[in-house]
């Protein structure tokens, strides 16, 4: 127990991230299932109240984005990146532990809102955030949202932002500075590259939402009017600040999955990635362009024709680098010897489904066309094709691929294939009809709709599909769990992968590499025209390897943050100060702790 609480080992932290994020994924999925059950019939469905429904979709979106998908990617950053670059750990192991604890506590804080009602003299299930995952002002003002709901949201996101920023600095430095000898930038595995790009997006985009949330906090707690027209403020400024973060955020969600796919495809087609440099640079270009398109979420706010044109144009440009990636992936498969493992199926599924989401994205990018689509189920279809069809399928590919490395146990391929096909059918059944319900006039975020709209049939299909995904997910969960009772007998390189993580045993020893390898090619474990495969590393370290011990301080420091948030929530300054005290003591003890690296 203590070993896990104080761990600074990137592999353990990776597993902690994985299980925590997966738990939140189940919660977010459960929320989605309730949403789908409610919408199965017009006029009321399951009888979920409007207020509860609003909390459900807000928490569903927030949970999936911040508590499930980002940290699932982080699980791989943690576990895989140091292995892929040939390092013993990340650059700042304790900062890494801190990120994890802050994430966990922030997630618990957000979800505590579901049961915290009685503390505020309200019912259970009545104080969870309920203003949507992008919390548009001025609905989020005290006047229109008097309860603690929005406070939970804004404080929770502040906490989570700290976790992401800390991890962002850590991984930027890890990837740039901890590479094994010979691991030049253009020899980095694509997953590592995309992680690097993602972390640059994190460290630039999160400060913006931090500012937005701080301003909102001032409006709600201290009576300023940053977003309130009654005092001259402008609710549209919130939208700009949010989407300046929010759009880079969606690329934060997709780029790691694109990186995973770029690892999985070469391995299972026995061919190097086609156009490695182009794939890497297109990722950089996507991230760069991703900063210039935020207002495409605001076409209906009346930006004026010039801004509309500019943002429509920049948005469309992103289709080019994304398309380049897709064509290179297909070219990687082309001419290969494709092994249809579950991991490969998910990677191919990713390409197939992401295209659909990308193309509906292009229909959004056309500003006038979007006027008929924005805030309807058509957008819901888009986001789930890119987020579920893209990110989640990509992450599944990664889980099947790296699970043996992470745990030493192979997942069942036959269960995996059931999981894949059920998921694929389920997601299309759930999300494809949403294109129609949207264009036939069904707005998003409605807990009820009129039977006369004629969209009930589509909603039924969506609900059936959602429950199929649910079943598939339970099968997957079972597949994960059952490996715990199996012997850890996965070979070091079960898939004949080419990158460094496959050069060491599964699961890797604490110190990762018996000796730090010297890298001479992009595919160190493969025989290529110019390079023989790397010579195997010795079985045991030739000299003792120093491994840093654990530390309590990251976790203790992290605990200060939710205490501050609880104090703010309850308007009790002493608690805020106590939390700040914990943070300060934690930082000092951390700074002066003898911690050998």
């Amino acid at each position: 127990m203590k070993r896990w609480l104080t761990t600074t080992d990137h592999k353990r932290i990776g597993l902690l991230y994985f299980w925590t994020a997966f738990g939140f994924f189940l919660i977010g999925g459960l929320e989605a299932l309730i949403i789908r059950a409610q919408l199965v019939r017009p006029d009321g469905g399951l009888g979920v109240s409007a207020e509860t429904f609003n909390q459900l979709f807000t928490m569903h979106g927030t949970t999936m984005v911040f508590l499930a998908l980002m940290p699932l990617s982080a699980a791989f950053f943690n576990f895989i990146i140091p292995l892929q670059i040939g390092a013993r750990d990340v650059a700042f192991p304790r900062l890494n532990a801190f990120s994890y604890w802050v994430f966990l506590l922030g997630g618990l804080f957000l979800n505590a809102s579901f049961i915290a009602g009685p503390l505020f003299g309200a019912d259970r299930l009545s104080v969870a955030p309920d203003a949507g995952w992008f919390g548009y002002a001025n609905l989020t003002s005290r006047q229109f949202s008097p309860g603690p709901n929005v406070d939970f949201w804004l404080l929770g996101l502040q906490i989570l932002g700290i976790a992401s920023l800390a991890a962002g600095f850590n991984f930027v430095v890890t990837i740039l500075n901890m590479r094994a000898p010979g691991m030049r930038m253009l020899r980095l595995p694509v997953f590592t590259w995309m992680t690097l790009v993602t972390q640059f997006l994190v460290i630039t985009a999160f400060p913006v939402i931090t500012v937005a949330l701080v301003l909102l906090m001032f409006d709600r707690f201290f009576g300023t009017h940053f977003f309130l027209p009654s005092g001259g403020g402008d609710p549209i400024l919130w939208q700009h600040l949010f989407w300046m973060f929010g759009h880079p955020e969606v690329y934060i969600l997709i780029l790691p999955a694109m990186g995973i796919v770029s690892e999985v495809l070469p391995t299972f087609s026995k061919k190097p990635l086609f156009g490695y440099t182009v794939v890497v640079y297109s990722g950089v270009v996507i991230a760069f362009l991703g900063w210039s398109v935020w207002s495409h979420h605001m076409f209906s706010t009346g930006l004026g024709p010039i801004a509309d044109s500019v943002f429509a144009g920049t948005t469309m440009l992103i289709a080019i680098p994304t398309g380049v990636k897709i064509f290179n992936w297909i070219a990687t498969l082309w001419g290969g010897q494709i092994r249809f493992t579950t991991s490969l199926l998910f990677a191919v599924g990713f390409i197939a489904m992401f295209i659909i989401g990308g193309l509906s994205g292009v229909t959004h990018a056309s500003a006038p066309s979007d006027l008929q689509q924005t805030d309807t189920y058509y957008v819901v279809a888009h986001i789930h094709y890119v987020l579920f069809g893209g990110t989640i399928l990509g992450l599944f590919a990664g889980i099947y691929y790296w699970w043996p490395k992470m745990t030493g146990r192979l997942l069942s391929e036959s269960l995996g294939k059931v999981h894949f096909w059920l998921t694929l059918i389920g997601m299309n059944l759930a999300f494809f009809p949403m294109h129609f319900s949207g264009l036939l006039g069904m707005p998003r975020r409605i807990y009820t709709y009129s039977a006369d709209l004629g969209v009930a049939r589509f909603n039924q299909l969506s609900t059936v599909g959602a429950f199929l995904i649910g079943i598939a997910t339970l099968i997957f969960f079972w597949n994960l769990l059952r490996t715990r009772w199996r012997p850890a007998n996965a070979p070091a390189n079960p898939w004949d992968g080419a990158t460094l993580e496959w050069a060491i045993p599964s699961p890797p020893p604490v110190y990762n590499f018996t000796v730090i390898p010297t890298v001479t090619s992009r595919l160190p474990l493969w025989q290529t025209e110019r390079h023989p495969p790397m010579t195997p590393l010795p079985d045991r370290p030739p000299a003792p390897i120093h491994v840093p011990g654990g530390s309590w301080w990251p976790m203790i420091t992290a605990f200060g943050l939710p205490i501050i948030a609880i104090g703010a929530l309850a308007h009790l300054i002493p608690i805020v100060l106590a939390g700040a005290g914990v943070v300060i003591v934690g930082i000092y003890r951390w700074a002066y702790e003898p911690f050998e690296m």
């Binding site: 640059f200 630039t204 913006v208 900063w291 009346g302 930006l303 004026g304």
Partner: protein
């Protein structure tokens, strides 16, 4: 640690002198009516110079690893772009709204 080879106490003092002088000029320009028309561009240029001096000499960016320049300059340019485009969007729409 090769900075010492490049920056000496003398450099630091000279930079400080320039910084103070620019600040004096800034304040001076602010009070001189003749400059009112070009106040904004002049002030922006002057403060950019101060900014650059501190970053280059006091923060050693001029002498340090070039990569740090990217690590700092990239986000800095992004921040500038954010400011400029928001101003454009907001003042642009104000004109549209009050114009016709």
């Amino acid at each position: 640690m090769s900075e010492q080879a490049h920056a000496t106490t003398g450099t630091y003092l000279r930079v400080a002198l320039i910084l103070v002088m620019i600040t004096l000029i800034e304040v001076g320009v602010f009070y001189v009516p003749a400059f009112q028309g070009v106040l904004v561009p002049v002030l922006l240029v002057l403060s950019a110079v101060k900014f650059a001096l501190v970053v280059m000499f006091y923060m050693h960016l001029k002498f340090d690893n070039r990569f740090f320049t990217f690590l700092f300059g990239g986000p800095l340019l992004l921040a500038l772009a954010v400011i400029v485009s928001l101003l454009f969007i907001f003042y642009g729409t104000v004109r549209l709204r009050t114009g016709t």
